[in-house]
Symmetry: C2
Amino acid sequence: MRYRKIPDETVRRLPVYLRGIRLLSAQGQDSICSKALADFIGVNAWQIRKDLSYFGELGKPGVGYAVSKLERQIRKVLNLEGGHNVVLVGVGNLGSAVLAFGGFAQYGFNIVAAFDSDPRKIGKKKCHLIIEDVTKLSRLKTKDVDLGIIAVPGEAAQEIADGLVSAGVRGILNFAPVRINVPKKVKIITIDIAMVLARLPYYIPSAKNNSSNDVGIAATANGGRD
Amino acid sequence: MRYRKIPDETVRRLPVYLRGIRLLSAQGQDSICSKALADFIGVNAWQIRKDLSYFGELGKPGVGYAVSKLERQIRKVLNLEGGHNVVLVGVGNLGSAVLAFGGFAQYGFNIVAAFDSDPRKIGKKKCHLIIEDVTKLSRLKTKDVDLGIIAVPGEAAQEIADGLVSAGVRGILNFAPVRINVPKKVKIITIDIAMVLARLPYYIPSAKNNSSNDVGIAATANGGRD
DNA sequence: GTATGTGAAGAGGTTCACAGCA
DNA sequence: TGCTGTGAACCTCTTCACATAC
């Protein structure tokens, strides 16, 4: 089945697998079967086997998967090998959280620059980085940065995105709750926190709720996405 | 087509529609056709019509949709009517960002309590709320809170989730990058920022990348999810 | 003429069952 | 025997085309 296009939903699950594999690896496990990994992660065994089958035969029948080989292969497919330099724009509360968060390193991400528009912040040091003036965003082109994180208010987001794109960034993680236009060659993923929260009440029909929601709906399988 | 189960993917899009409708409403528009709304939001017109058709006939052929009626109906389906009280646990950088963020109100969310484990924070005021001791989480039962937000480190997240559940919370938005077990009656949505970022490089195959990714893959339709 | 709502066709993803290998 | 990899069946969601309503 080699060389088939990897479904988007599989790509979405690969980081989940990676996280699980790394935890098992840290526990000293060097081999694992799909069932055990599935239970550990909280998905189905056949889902894992199918997903992994899209990019070659990694497991040994009767044995399982070699953890290190599996990790390497998933990193390769996700294009995480070699690491990525990331630039952060907006060092408010959310941006500070991103800067302080230690969880990016395990995926090979390295935040190499931080920008803000607030004169009181520019020049100050935060988490080993000196905050730079956002108007200098284009200076980035010299560095090897291909990802950007937008953590600015909605009004400024489009402008920042444009700046990131012209600075050569190819992928953007956007926290601003607005729609942003970027060239097709640039991939943008938006996390609109309020919008995610807005989805939650649907699944918990309460006494207040007189709509026609079936309680059973919440049990719908959704590929372990949430 | 009335009374058919609303697809999960439709539920995922409804907050997007709601955001767009509210923007148009603020601009003074009181009627809109599916094509115009689609262009405004960045999806397809037939997708909107199909989605809306799952819960009754809202539009007038030859005319379009009444904005206010549409907004009311979507709020009703999402169970946003009447509002929801939310409790925040963890007032670090991320939690502070959540507290300071003004975007929840438009969906009817009201953060009514904030907890932390840090003695230096407990008792302090932040955004009109006095930060409470996380060990008092159970005291919540008296209030009418049905949603919780977890913004604590991964190690503490499961314990906090258990606390929220026993406090009567029915839905949880979790930012901790760990798998959390909750009873089936409780809906949990996890936003693992690093995991979302980890998905980005796949879509931007670079010179570094010698894998078999097709550049074209990035163009795949995904229902406007990202 | 214009725009909706929907049956039907088409994609895409999930689940199953089992052949094949260790 | 145990576990993988995968065709096939199944299911869900998307896209289309058009009858219907204003």
